[in-house]
């Protein structure tokens, strides 16, 4: 079965084992709910600090209970069902959004003893186990599969609302998520190459002793992962999905009450999971030094949380700093920059691996690799420039030089400069 890697399940399943598994799943569930509450407060408070505002400060100390108050309010609001809506799908969509958000966290190792080859195993009720709900051998692929399922929630929510703005928002969202998933997967593939495994536990074990993948893969995949992850989460500066000025609320415009709350929860849960996955893949997960021996069990979890909070801070920071992308810029960045860069870097790392295995001299290999990549980039840039020039000429022919109102062109500025 899929869980066989966890030492807990090797000797067969009895009552204690089943209870431990249930306990871990329940803890993960509660942890996610509570941390979503705190993260929403964290984001609002931090954002208001960055914008010289006070932010929520009434409910509880420092307004920390604001999310709870909002949640209770949402719960008691009227649940509307638009007349044009497709009833079944409209009700189904929030669940399709929130279930993958919950389940994806299952593969994240949140703690465990990674010293001296202990492999992240801890002892719980006399059984040894890993501090993650499940460690499937295809762990990170499982995460990718769930994030591709999450597209359904967004897409169907927009379609089933039976109204224009949600439909446009959902088409944007699904196009964006599908495009950036490619770059995300390619960035993750580089990690697979250096770690030699898909299991999250083994990826963390490979990074013990501060041998983090962020350095082993040469920083570029990490940056691509961060950018593509932000786009995958539909967060600013990639939040065209719910660009208020253009689309009202995007795909969840027609949702209210608890169904809206589910989308909201899913959004923040995905943010936490994306941060946790980034920590696992690139920053060594919970592995870290134990500074005070009597509470040795606490340190890995503490390191993990510190790293995750650093990522959450970055996401909020990006939101407070950067203006929103235009749609054609978004697509250009995804398809013409991130995917080729991720692919090229993946090939470079693979070449280096082969060179190391075959004992080739490293320096010439690096030089040739970089040269080939540079040539590829030049070819791509040439092709893009040529296509742009062609489009411009064509637009001149067609509309007498007034530029082409192209949704995907990305040549808006250049068109204007040629208008004489």
């Amino acid at each position: 079965m899929i869980l066989a890697v966890d030492p807990l399940l090797v000797d067969g399943v009895d009552l204690t084992v089943a209870l431990i598994v249930l306990l871990k799943a329940g803890l993960a569930f509660v942890f996610l709910l509570v941390s979503v509450m705190l993260v929403i407060w964290f984001e609002r408070k931090l954002l208001s600090d960055m914008q010289n505002r006070i932010g929520p400060d009434v409910a509880g100390p420092w307004g920390i209970l604001q999310t709870l108050a909002d949640g209770i309010k949402l719960f008691f609001k009227e649940d509307l069902l638009p007349t044009n809506a497709d009833r079944v799908v409209f009700r189904l969509a929030p669940y399709l959004s929130i279930v993958p958000a919950f389940v994806a966290f299952a593969i994240v190792p949140v703690g465990g003893d990674f010293r001296d080859g202990a492999g992240g195993v801890v002892s719980m009720f006399g059984r040894s186990t890993l501090l993650q709900v499940a460690d499937p051998p295809v762990g990170v692929l499982f995460f990718l599969a769930l994030s591709s399922v999450a597209v359904y929630g967004v897409m169907l929510a927009g379609w089933s609302s039976g109204s224009k703005y949600p439909l446009l928002g959902s088409v944007r969202a699904s196009a964006q998520m599908i495009s950036y998933e490619a770059a995300l997967s390619l960035a993750i593939a580089t990690v697979f190459l250096t770690s030699g495994s898909l299991s999250t536990n083994e990826i963390v074990i490979g990074q013990v002793a501060a041998n983090w993948n962020i350095l082993a893969t040469g920083l570029v995949p990490f940056l691509i992962f961060l950018i593509a992850g932000t786009a995958e989460l539909n967060r600013p500066p990639f939040d065209l999905v719910e660009a208020e000025q253009e689309l009202v609320g995007g795909f969840h415009t027609e949702y209210s009450s608890i169904r809206f709350a589910m989308f909201y929860l899913a959004e923040f849960m995905n943010m936490i999971t994306m941060s946790a996955i980034a920590v696992t893949l690139f920053l060594g997960g919970p592995a870290g030094p134990v500074l005070y021996e009597p509470v040795a069990w606490l340190w890995p979890t503490l390191w993990f949380f510190l790293k995750v909070v650093a990522f959450l801070f970055t996401f909020v920071w990006l939101r407070a700093t950067l203006p929103r992308f235009r749609y054609d810029q978004l697509m250009d960045l995804g398809w013409k920059v991130l995917i080729p860069a991720a692919l090229g870097w993946f090939l470079l790392i693979a070449t280096l691996d082969i060179a190391r295995d075959s004992g080739w001299p490293i320096l010439p290999v690096v030089l040739i690799g970089v040269l080939v990549l540079w040539a590829g980039a030049a070819l791509l840039a040439g092709a893009v420039a040529k296509a742009r020039a062609d489009r411009r000429d064509e637009a001149d022919d067609l509309f007498g030089g007034y530029g082409e109102p192209s949704p995907t062109g990305g040549a808006g500025g250049d068109d204007r400069s040629r208008r004489t």
């Binding site: 497709d86 079944v88 051998p137 591709s148 399922v149 064509e394």
Partner: protein, 216 residues
């Protein structure tokens, strides 16, 4: 536990397949297809083929059905279809005959050659040294079957280049598309590039004729 999981996922798979056939609304049919694909993924997990299960979800549920949905939504055929219209004459009786003969053929093969074609032998065979499913699959793909993989890659590249070439707009001032071309292309692909002022059908075809194109 295995029989229980098998029965549940078999019910999921079969009910999804029935739903694809019986749902009137194309979007609902696509969702039932997702249900079937998920059930099959669970069956893969049951067979210890975890990599295949993950790829099944990523590729089929995450990409292909999403594309189906895109096409359905963008073409605006997301209403219940009128089953009274038969686009190709005699298609339905022919479909029944073809389906029945395929089913018969499959049954005969399965019943005659019991463990040859059902995959029992392969499923029961020892995994060999490396227990890691993914590693073995990767080794097989990139050593024994490397030519097949490369050929598939070339095929896909050709398909992408072909799609780009077909979608490319020709140079020069925009011409009305000849009537033969409109008839040959499944109508909806040719039409959207034209600005509203250009009538794609000089012969006065009504919009209804072009709207009932094949969504595939």
């Amino acid at each position: 536990m295995e029989p229980a999981v098998f029965i549940v996922s078999a019910v999921v798979v079969l009910s999804g397949a029935l739903g694809v056939l019986l749902a009137r609304n194309p979007v609902h049919a696509a969702l039932f297809l997702v249900q079937t694909l998920f059930g099959v993924a669970v069956l893969f997990v049951l067979l210890n083929a975890t990599f295949l299960a993950a790829v099944q979800v990523v590729v089929y549920a995450g990409a292909i059905v999403i594309l189906f949905l895109f096409v359905i939504m963008l073409l605006g055929v997301d209403r219940a279809d009128d089953l009274g219209i038969e686009p190709i004459a005699g298609q339905r009786p022919l479909a029944v005959v073809t389906g029945a003969s395929l089913l018969g053929l499959t049954l005969v093969v399965m019943l005659v050659a019991v463990d040859g074609s059902t995959g029992v032998r392969a499923a029961n065979a020892a995994l060999g040294d490396a227990a890691d499913n993914t590693r073995r699959l990767g080794e097989a793909l990139f050593t024994d079957m490397v030519y097949a993989v490369e050929l598939t890659a070339i095929l896909l590249t050709v398909a992408v280049v072909g799609a780009v070439a077909l979608a490319r707009r020709l140079k020069g001032p925009l011409q009305p598309i000849p009537v033969e071309a409109v008839a040959a292309v499944p109508a909806d692909e040719g039409a959207p590039d034209l600005p509203a002022s250009q009538d794609p059908s000089p012969e006065g075809r009504s919009p209804d004729d072009t709207a009932s194109g094949d969504p595939a």
